[in-house]
């Protein structure tokens, strides 16, 4: 396996010590837990998605661990504006505030809360199981462009996280690019469901949910690859990454860095674990690998 030379990385307008970021919604509810993940080697951490109003989230079950993935429908539980205080002790650290809203104004309002406390904003335009939010907004290129613009004009690095549950993800990626995004994050979960044959009803309280983890890695690689062919802004790969080789594969598809979520289930220190194999002082510059599977 090829190794990467360690060193600071510029990811979508922010500086991080490595290429391995904590994905949104994974241990992102408290400042302390985000700090813990930073201390465990995450290059940057994305918070739980924060919205204009506090939300308790969907009734349980909210999550099921499958053989090869995770099915969840948390329903965007979040403390809303209270969260600004949560992460204020992390000021100066590479903390990306994930935010959601139902329209450009809401996005701008929530983003504004994090001015000064977050290093970047990640727009959740992709959660597949929240009525009126997430993918409901994120499958419409016009709305995506407008929401992105509403945030990017505030002057903070603006990442846009895409849903794979669309006919053509590149149309959405290009909309984000037009809206002034600093980077695209691909992908959020794949819309899915499991049914309990014993109880004869969907396993999740919300019935529908999102699939993450190893099962979706080939879908995520495809999306990153497609986006790399049609967009010019940096892409952050997300979805099923669980090993150093997966990171290389995402990079070769076109990702400048990765976000890791479900793999935290098997190994809370997955960032350190991957870094040990991924980096070596005699490694190649990551830059040589990004997109090298194209052409």
């Amino acid at each position: 396996m090829v190794s990467i030379r360690p060193g600071p990385v510029n990811v979508g307008g922010i500086q991080t010590p490595n290429h391995l970021l904590l994905a949104a919604g994974i241990l992102g509810t408290t400042g302390a837990s985000l700090a813990r993940m930073l201390s465990y080697g995450a290059g940057a951490v994305v918070t739980k998605s924060i919205g204009p109003e506090p939300k308790d989230g969907h009734a349980g079950p909210c999550l099921a661990i499958l053989d090869d993935g995770v099915l969840n429908a948390m329903g965007l539980p979040n403390p809303s504006k209270d969260f600004v205080e949560e992460i204020s002790p992390l000021k100066g650290k590479p903390v990306i505030a994930s935010i959601y809203g139902g329209n450009p104004e809401e996005f701008a309002m929530v983003a504004e809360w994090f001015r000064g406390s977050a290093a970047a904003i990640e727009l959740n335009l992709s959660c597949p199981h929240a009525e009126g939010y997430g993918a409901a907004v994120g499958s419409d290129p016009h709305l995506v462009e407008a929401c992105t613009l509403a945030v990017s004009r505030l002057g903070m690095p603006t990442w846009v996280k895409l849903t794979p549950n669309v006919t053509d993800i590149t149309a959405i990626g290009k909309a984000a690019e037009r809206g002034g995004a600093s980077a695209i994050v691909a992908i959020n979960t794949v819309k899915a469901m499991r049914i309990s044959t014993g109880l004869r009803r969907p396993v999740l309280g919300n019935r529908y949910g999102g699939l993450s983890g190893k099962a979706i890695f080939p879908v995520a690689v495809r999306c990153v690859y497609e986006l790399y062919e049609s967009c010019h802004i940096p892409i952050i790969g997300c979805g099923g990454v669980s090993s150093a080789d997966n990171v290389l594969e995402m990079m070769m598809a076109g990702a400048v860095a990765v976000e890791i979520g479900s793999a935290v289930y098997s190994d809370v220190r997955v960032f350190e674990t991957i870094a040990r194999t991924l980096y070596a002082d005699d490694g190649v510059p990551a830059h040589d690998l990004v997109g090298c599977a194209h052409g």
Binding site: G25, T29, A64, P77, R194, L199
Partner: protein, 261 residues
């Protein structure tokens, strides 16, 4: 025979059928079911009440939970009858670090995760507290297998006051591990006491925090300032890790907002 629901390899919640319901106290019932789980005392499961919610409950034995009726999900559970079905994910969490000479301290429904310890003859002494005599949980069972000492707030049985009232007559030096489960203010009082004596590192507390995933991913149960996940790194946590913490001060609700305790 494969168990109902088992073919899914426990990927999704296992479906179990309620085989017995026992009214333990006016507000607490034990529900036993047809399919036992391998577990360690102190571990919990996520209990899915179909159509309502999924909530964490300690296993009070390999095939039972013991539930206090407090809100929606627990009320819905109380409306179920034998042969009704529920879903169970788990067991989750770490369970107690077991010692040779253990002291167990329980308040209210907090006796549930401690019962398997006592029934496994692991608890030399068991301090049991409740508001009033009728709310004392598992008295008969505990009496059979451990040195049971009782406190009630109203003095209707045992010593009057919180379980801490039983401390004065206790020789803490006689125990190598102390395990505690009950209302958080009671547990915080215990922590104060054991910290005074300097044995907080030998004392373990079973924490209750809002749990959604139960497996260490969602972050809803994390505590300050360590960021430890109560569902995965706990629910049993050593006292020394709790002294300078949110424990007894505040916890978070379903949305992640802080709530005073």
């Amino acid at each position: 025979m494969t168990l109902w629901g088992a073919p899914m390899g426990d990927q999704v919640p296992r479906t179990v059928t309620i085989t017995g319901i026992r009214q333990e106290t006016p507000t607490i019932r034990s529900f036993s079911f047809d399919s036992p789980f391998e577990f360690a005392a102190g571990q919990f499961v996520m209990v899915w009440v179909p159509g309502v919610d999924e909530v964490p409950m300690a296993l009070s034995s390999a095939n039972s939970i013991t539930v206090q009726k407090v809100g929606d999900a627990t009320t819905a559970l109380f409306s179920l009858n034998t042969s009704d079905r529920i879903g169970i994910r788990g067991p989750f969490g770490n369970g107690f670090f077991q010692g040779e000479k253990m002291l167990a301290i329980a308040g209210g429904v907090g006796a549930a995760p401690l019962l398997p310890l006592a029934r496994g003859d692991r608890a030399m002494t068991f301090l049991l507290g409740a508001r009033t005599e009728t709310e004392l949980l598992f008295v008969d069972q505990l009496d059979e297998c451990t040195d049971l000492q009782i406190a009630t707030d109203d003095g209707s049985l045992g010593v009057q006051g919180f379980v801490t009232a039983l401390f004065d007559d206790l020789n803490f030096g006689a125990y190598d591990r102390i395990v505690v489960c009950g209302p958080e203010l009671m547990m915080r009082a215990v922590l104060g006491k054991v910290a005074e004596i300097g044995i907080e590192h030998r004392t373990e507390f079973t924490l209750h925090r809002y749990m959604k995933c139960g497996v260490g991913l969602c972050g809803s149960c994390c505590i300050d300032p360590s960021g430890l996940r109560v569902c995965r790194d706990g629910p049993v946590i050593s006292g020394d890790l709790l002294i300078k913490s949110e424990f007894g001060q505040y916890m978070r609700d379903a949305s992640g907002r802080k709530q005073k305790i």
